[in-house]
């Protein structure tokens, strides 16, 4: 039990928390753009799965994890394009389209996984991102080990938070996005192309969701496993709600979920007598608690989930 309080344990726990935060953070930031523009994107789960798979495929054939990440982003955008076409252009119900996108992603990834690599007993491993120690900063005790010895995708994810805040609150683009999500008709009247803004936001969520998925397969591991996203895309959607649709809130929510996940893994490793299945349930239970009551509903974009028809 004293294990839990040791510095090594703490560093390992916090460092794992950061790593587990990143995929959720990427996807949640993507989900934020989509939701702020008025499109509920529960297809993020599928988008992440596609990103995780195509990242591995890209890295496998080019032997470069950068190309893997690029391929994951492109494929994330492609699958998001189907979603955008369905929800923004044809105005099909967003939830139902999201479910269809998720099913499509499960099918496509597991089909092509078998088609490309066959049925293997040993998992296919590829070149994955290596940790990048930031000089000086990484030598700070504890913090250096936790924050400044991560892969580059981790740094990118965290830098995206202030960048997103800047875009949303300091640029006309951000204002456009928020207007479209709050009051599409007003936006339309002043000449903001509602459908175009929404499409771009959904595609952006595809790019970020793809990157989040790719971090799972290339940033944490170096392989793809069927269904490896296992609900993180949905948790990201919950993080958007819990974070009240703001980059800062989403960062905190993602860290909370990342920490919960890391904590349950670490507790499993300490060999406590709690059945491991209950520990595995923890992040999902936390998600339910998070979206219930703790946050006010007032900040949801008013036009969220409603297709805009002139």
């Amino acid at each position: 039990m004293e294990d839990i309080l040791s510095t090594t344990f703490l560093i390992a726990l916090l460092s794992a928390s950061i790593r587990l935060t990143v995929p959720i953070l990427f996807a949640a930031l993507g989900g934020m753009y989509s939701e702020l523009s008025g499109v509920n994107n529960i297809g993020l789960e599928g988008i992440m799965l596609v990103g995780a798979f195509t990242g591995v495929v890209g890295s496998y054939y080019t032997e470069s994890y950068w190309m893997g990440a690029l391929f994951a982003v492109i494929c994330g955008i492609l699958i998001a394009a189907i979603f955008a076409y369905a929800t923004v252009k044809i105005k099909i119900n967003q939830i139902v389209s999201g479910v269809a996108i998720n099913l499509l992603a499960v099918g496509l990834t597991s089909f092509f996984f078998r088609a490309l690599f066959g049925i293997t007993t040993v998992p296919i491993t590829v070149n994955a991102f290596e940790s990048l120690e930031i000089p000086l900063l990484s030598s700070i005790p504890i913090i250096g080990d936790v924050i400044f010895k991560q892969t580059i995708l981790v740094y990118i994810a965290f830098i995206l938070v202030p960048i997103s805040a800047y875009i949303l609150y300091r640029t006309s683009w951000g204002l456009n996005i928020r207007t479209v999500g709050e009051h599409p008709m007003a936006a339309d009247t002043v000449g903001i192309p509602v459908d175009k803004v929404r499409t771009i936001c959904v595609l952006l969520s595809g790019a970020l969701g793809g990157l989040g998925g790719c971090f799972l397969s290339l940033g944490q591991f170096n392989m793809f496993v069927d269904n490896m996203v296992s609900g993180r895309g949905f948790i990201a959607v919950a993080a958007v709600i819990f974070g009240k649709w703001s980059p800062k809130g989403i960062l905190l929510a993602s860290i909370l979920f990342g920490f919960a996940d890391a904590l349950q893994i670490r507790i499993q490793m300490t060999g406590l007598s709690i059945p491991y299945q209950f520990l595995l349930m923890f992040p999902y239970l936390l998600t339910i608690i998070a979206v219930t009551g703790i946050v006010g509903k007032t900040s949801a974009p008013k036009a969220l989930g409603r297709p805009y028809e002139k």
């Binding site: 529960i42 189907i82 369905a86 044809i90 105005k91 099909i92 119900n93 939830i95 139902v96 389209s97 479910v99 269809a100 996108i101 998720n102 099913l103 499509l104 499960v106 099918g107 496509l108 597991s110 089909f111 078998r114 088609a115 296992s230 609900g231 949905f234 959607v237 919950a238 709600i241 059945p275 299945q277 209950f278 595995l280 349930m281 999902y284 239970l285 998600t287 339910i288 979206v291 219930t292 009551g293 509903k297």
Partner: protein, 357 residues
């Protein structure tokens, strides 16, 4: 006037059947492109996919075996959907139903079937209903998203199954993470000898009829649909939205819970980790393909059952991963939704054309 009306009805029927059929064909077409990419002759593959089932009675009956839980989860989605709710949690509700059914089956399986089977059924209904009550209460009281909550409950229920077969109900020999076989008297009787087709299929059909009657032929169902159709209007006319949301999700969960019962007492006869995963999502596919109408759900479930058993035949015959069917299924959903959006336009054109004649 009468002629006009008749034309319109025939057009309606044409589109109601036509759109799903066209969607299936188009989805198969897109699937064949994928097959060509991996160097497989689509005609050869589809020969197995479509006709692979019809080789003997056993294979044909497997279509209905597969369709049974899909009908039930499809009805679950339909019931909530008609009240304006999205129950994405049929998987979890089915798992809960299965845990309850297997527990009851282990405890009462030595008694007479007339006692044991109904007890298992009731247990699964209660467990599924509780799984629907949770999102119902949270949605009704706090206004939380039932979508996220039902999805999260899927994962929680899945781990609960894994726990139950790992610890409290692990088989006596303790070898595999699974429960003992339930008592033979709790097995659902077979309809066709030497097949696995059990009366769970009939139960599913009866429930489909019940759902239809409740939703369309009772004041209670009218109120539920009013909440889904126009919540503000319903509230204005004195219908309690909260109450109806909770009731709808409870019934929806109960329907999915029964799928757990039919899978345990009809097919597996024990609880296994990872059993029947994703049936809840197949149910959503069936519900949408069947236009969220119980008759449509039954028809669509049988079609999906056919595709899934066909996929296995295809995998054996040509060695293509059976997963292609899940791609085709997802494409079917998207195309049906797309077709339904286009429907008013097509209808208008058809009516004009026929009137001109």
């Amino acid at each position: 006037m009468l002629k006009k009306l008749m034309l319109r009805t025939s057009n309606n029927l044409l589109l109601t059947i036509g759109i799903p059929i066209l969607s299936v064909l188009l989805a198969l077409l897109i699937g064949s492109i994928l097959l060509l990419i991996i160097n497989v002759n689509p005609l050869e593959a589809y020969k197995y996919l479509i006709f692979g089932n019809f080789t003997n009675i056993y294979n044909i009956s497997e279509i209905f075996v597969k369709a049974t839980p899909i009908i039930l989860t499809g009805l679950a989605f339909t019931f909530a959907y008609r009240t304006g709710l999205f129950n994405i949690g049929a998987d979890g509700q089915m798992f809960a139903g299965a845990i309850a059914a297997v527990y009851m089956g282990l405890k009462t399986g030595h008694l007479s079937p007339i006692i044991s089977i109904p007890l298992c059924l009731v247990a699964s209904i209660i467990a599924g209903a509780i799984c629907g009550l949770i999102p119902g209460l949270l949605k009704g009281i706090f206004g939380s998203s039932e979508i996220i909550i039902t999805i999260m409950l899927n994962y929680i229920a899945q781990y609960l199954v894994s726990y139950v077969v790992d610890k409290p109900l692990r088989e006596a020999s303790g070898f595999y993470p699974q429960t003992d076989l339930i008592g033979e008297n709790a097995f659902l009787p077979y309809i066709v000898p030497n097949t696995r087709l059990h009366i769970g299929f009939i139960i599913a059909l009866i429930l489909a009829a019940l759902v239809y009657l409740i939703l369309w032929k009772t004041p209670f169902g009218y109120r539920l649909r009013a909440v889904g159709f126009n919540p503000d209007g319903a509230e204005y006319s004195g219908i309690s939205i909260k109450k109806n949301i909770i009731i709808s999700l409870v019934i929806s969960g109960a329907l999915a819970g029964v799928a757990g019962f039919t899978e345990i007492n009809g097919i597996h006869h024990r609880l296994l980790d990872n059993f029947s995963r994703n049936v809840g999502f197949d149910g959503i596919a069936a519900a949408l393909l069947g236009n969220t109408n119980p008759i449509g759900v039954v028809t669509a479930s049988i079609l999906l059952g056919m595709l899934q058993t066909g996929a296995n035949a295809m995998q054996r015959g040509v060695g293509i991963p059976a997963n292609i069917v899940s791609i085709i299924q997802a494409l079917i959903i998207l195309l049906v939704l797309f077709g339904n959006k286009l429907r008013p336009i097509i209808e208008l054109k058809l009516n004009k054309k026929q009137e001109a004649e």
